[in-house]
């Protein structure tokens, strides 16, 4: 689906973020403290460390219909 059509239909992407508790998750909190705005379609899952990330989880997210997965840590 092209972006133009997608926007017309009111389609919204579903983006899953796996965020390390010690850096990215803290950074996301910091973004909040500074009231920096970003699109509301982002859903953050807290992980204890990006080392905990299993490729299985990324595949699972896509398998269940996620449009994008961001792994950050």
């Amino acid at each position: 689906m092209s972006i133009a059509i997608a926007e017309e239909k009111g389609w919204e992407p579903k983006i899953i973020v796996f965020a390390c508790n010690w850096c990215t998750y803290a950074a996301a909190d910091l973004a909040g403290l500074n009231h920096l705005e970003y699109p509301a379609q982002v859903r953050i899952i807290r992980t204890p460390c990006s080392g905990r990330m299993d490729p299985m989880l990324v595949l699972r997210a896509f398998n269940r219909g996620a449009d994008g997965v961001l792994l950050s840590g």
């Binding site: 996301a28 909190d29 403290l33 009231h35 509301a40 859903r43 953050i44």
Partner: protein, 194 residues
Amino acid sequence: MRKRVGVFVCDCGTNIASVVDTEEVARYAANLPGVVFSTTYKYMCSDPGQEMIRKAIKEHDLEQVVVASCSPRMHEKTFRKAVEQGGINGYLFEMVNIREQDSWVHHDRGEATKKAKDLVRMAVAKVLRNKPLYISHIPITKKALVIGGGIAGMQAALDIADAGYPVILVEKQATIGGKMAQLDKTFPTMDCAA
């Protein structure tokens, strides 16, 4: 384990409630599988807020607790304690970040509320799979190491030593004193530095 989740949604004054429709989130949470109780409150972390959690655990026979409020990096310990005081294991608890990662970064009330609902749904799904965990205890070596013998290291060493604990002070140079020893008089009192 029985599935009896209680969901507590915090307004954080207006920090959350001005952007996220917390009442709506609580109503939505009430219909999630496993949830038997949900409510909102102005300041969940306050004493009355915590008391509300403790009371609800008893009154509604809750087995799991979800608090949707600020970042878990801020108040996870606070609520874990409240949950324990309420009589259930502190790890049968999950926190949802609807302040730092929702109300403070989004302006559209509809979108922010939708996000809050999704995040609460996520936490409920997780908390139903939580298991009670138990803290263990380890002994402590009652001795401190201070690295650097300048003014900071000396002061820290003295304070710790005065409290009665042994301190090892390691310094790179052949004397303690650091940069301070090189200084002449120091402001604002013009004392000698040594």
